[in-house]
């Protein structure tokens, strides 16, 4: 009976500026690079402020570097109509990835994670697969929109994702996934810790510290810590197996791909789960080979269509090349128009960007 009254009482909550972590990253990168002599001092405070508060990437990245952006600001790039055209196209492509692919995959993922009764092995594997693509297209969608917006302002951002799931090693995965964050951690954590200059075991320790810190950056939760630890473990195992066991033997590409994709998928379970107990429950279900869900429902349901689309976009080079950079301009315009219409008709239910919370 008092719920309305209770609701009317203002709740105390901490107000944080939007994009605080990216302001921090930018300032850190500028200060450290300046100290190490890797970048020049900004010519004017206006350039510096523009670099710190450049809006397209502020909410979820990519993390930009002083040396990249300040140089472009100083050059005073002129924005021409071709840039505007490509900027708009990049934004449409980003929106398509987020609103059509990621948000539609989110329906199945959210339903599965919110249902405490799901114990079926196949369902959890499909869910893991769906989430792997959801987080990728969600975040890559945002990064692409940010790149498009920056392009409209005459600034060029570096690529933040480079088909990460095509990787054949975990090392390669981290060179393709969230490139701006992984290079940030490499340059400002791993290398200052000593990198691989102080022996094999020290390099491994540095790798673990960097990955654990990267996990903690996502949130002070054990699930993120385990996610970081799992990737550290994969990277270490990869190095050790390569160094001590399989020195001259090369595994077939498909096996390498399977190991990397499977390991990444497993790590995502911890990233997505609300708590560590639930994450272990999911992993247990995935490995228990218990079948109760109807295969037909899973394989013919909406989720399979979105997974197939995601697979095509990620793994078939022709698809993405055709969608993003077609040879013929009229096909390009047609595809972009088609993307706009697909967004209007087939966008999934509204979802926040996953990386907004970090």
């Amino acid at each position: 009976m008092v719920s309305d009254f209770e609701r009317a009482i203002p709740e105390f909550s901490l107000i944080l500026p939007i994009g605080i972590s990216f302001y921090t990253f930018n300032s850190l990168s500028y200060t450290i690079d300046l100290y190490n002599g890797k970048t020049k001092k900004a010519r004017s405070w206006l350039h510096f402020m523009a670099f710190i508060s450049f809006f397209p990437h502020l909410v979820a990245g990519p993390i930009i570097r002083a040396k990249d952006v300040l140089l472009q600001l100083e050059k005073k790039n002129k924005i021409n109509i071709t840039e505007i055209y490509h900027g708009i196209g990049t934004c449409i492509w980003g929106l398509f990835q987020k609103m059509v692919v990621a948000d539609n995959l989110a329906i199945f993922v959210n339903n599965t994670y919110s249902d405490n009764n799901v114990s079926d092995t196949l369902t959890w594997w499909v869910c893991g697969l769906a989430f792997s693509f959801q987080i990728y297209f969600d975040f890559n969608g945002y990064s692409t929109i940010a790149r498009g917006l920056a392009k409209l302002c005459g600034i060029h951002f570096r690529l933040n994702f480079n088909y990460p799931y095509r990787s054949l090693s975990f090392n390669e995965f981290w060179k393709r996934w969230h490139i701006s964050l992984s290079t940030f951690f490499r340059d400002y954590v791993y290398i200052p810790l000593g990198g691989n200059r102080k022996g094999f075991w020290k390099a491994e320790l540095n790798k673990w510290l960097t990955m654990l810190l990267s996990g903690l950056w996502h949130g002070a939760n054990t699930t993120f810590l385990v996610w970081g630890a799992l990737h550290a473990l994969f990277l270490s195992l990869e190095t050790m197996i390569g160094k001590f066991i399989l020195k001259s033997i090369h595994l077939p590409r498909i096996i390498n791909f399977g190991i990397v994709f499977g390991g990444t998928l497993l790590a995502w379970v911890f990233f997505r789960s609300p708590d560590i107990d639930f994450a272990f429950y999911v992993v247990k279900c995935m490995l228990s080979f218990e079948h109760s869900a109807s295969y037909r429902t899973l394989l013919t349901g909406g989720v399979s269509v979105w997974i197939i689309l995601a697979v095509l976009l990620e793994f078939i080079p022709f698809t993405s090349r055709f969608l993003i950079k077609s040879k013929y301009w009229f096909i390009q315009v047609f595809i972009w128009s088609l993307m706009i219409v697909t967004i209007l008709f087939f966008r999934g239910p509204e979802q926040d960007f996953i990386y907004f919370q970090f």
Binding site: M1, S3, D4, R7, N80, I81, T82, I84, Y85, I88, N104, G301, G302, V305, W329, Q332, V333, F334, W336, S337, L338, I340, V341, L344, F345, F346, R347, G348
Partner: protein
């Protein structure tokens, strides 16, 4: 360079007309949706942000908001303004009732009509998840849904299963009436057994809460003391559904209605055979009109 510039201008100019043409081509190709999700969202936002006050308010679950049409009631009872305050899987707990009382006109007839079913008193319903989800939206979200969604409903989205169903000839019509809170519904093909399994599962896992019934009766007593007329109705369902509900709840409604009668509550238990449901649980639009007429007659008496 100049050519490149001209081509870019040309391409940019073509982008929007291309998109508009494709939009209309899609509209022609894709079968017309039976229900508009944006209008649906707007409907719920209107319902939960209700500012007007009414003489009669109907409270309950989806059977209520699909089964009682306030427009019919208002047209049969002179000078009366009524509203359907039903929510999906709603349980009759004090929060829902309190909200319903809030939209009763202090100077009006002050009538509350509860749509009661065994579902109204089971644990999952008493959590009132649908209502809570609606209430938890921010004021901005609710405002946008109320004002802009109806205007943007032409951009209603489709899910792949929607299209699959439409192509197979399965229709689920829904018409949302923001003014009355009523949803006129129908389904083709009709399948009066379709909801039985879900309900059976529901009753197997959830028992009727005796405490919730006691609380409800106490609340009714308080409402009566506050000069509010209370009616309880059991909305018609299919024969199989009624049998299932009675079997799985030890004929809860009969003892419950006897108890309420002793409290002076008027009960309406209609002849189910006279009404048609499309899924065994919800009245189709024609039967909803007929049933609303019956309720209006009962209140008029």
């Amino acid at each position: 360079m100049r050519n490149k510039k001209t081509l870019s201008i040309f391409k940019l100019t073509l982008l929007l007309p291309f998109a508009i043409i494709l939009f209309f081509v899609f509209k022609q190709i894709i079968p017309k949706a039976d229900s508009n999700s944006m209008l649906k969202e707007s409907f719920w936002a209107h319902k939960v942000c209700q500012n007007s006050v009414y003489d009669i308010v109907f409270v309950g679950d989806s059977r209520v908001y699909r089964g009682i049409d306030p427009y019919v009631i208002d047209s049969m009872l002179d000078g009366v303004k009524s509203f359907n305050y039903g929510f999906s899987s709603a349980g009759l707990d004090s929060v829902l009732i309190y909200k319903a009382v809030n939209i009763l006109d202090k100077n009006g007839k002050r009538v509350l009509v509860f749509g009661v079913s065994p579902n109204s008193f089971i644990k999952t319903s008493l959590q009132n998840n649908h209502l809570n989800m609606l209430v938890s939206q921010t004021d901005e979200e609710l405002y946008i849904k109320q004002i802009f969604y109806p205007k943007l409903s032409v951009f209603n989205t489709y899910t792949l299963s929607d299209i699959n169903k439409l192509l197979k000839g399965n229709h689920y019509y829904e018409e949302f009436n923001n003014q009355t809170g009523f949803v006129s519904s129908d389904r083709q093909p009709i399948d009066t057994l379709s909801s039985l399994i879900a309900y059976k599962h529901q009753f197997e896992n959830n028992r009727i809460s005796k405490k919730a019934i006691d609380d409800f009766c106490r609340t009714i007593y308080a409402l009566q003391k506050a000069q509010i007329d209370v009616y309880c109705v059991r909305i018609p369902v299919s024969f199989q559904m009624k049998l299932l509900e009675d079997q799985m709840t030890d004929s809860f409604f009969y003892s419950f209605s006897e108890r309420l009668k002793l409290q002076g509550v008027k009960i309406l238990n209609a002849n189910d055979a006279l009404y048609n449901t499309y899924d065994g649980s919800h009245l189709n639009s024609k039967s909803a009109t007929k049933y609303s007429q019956l309720i209006a007659t009962m209140i008029a008496k």
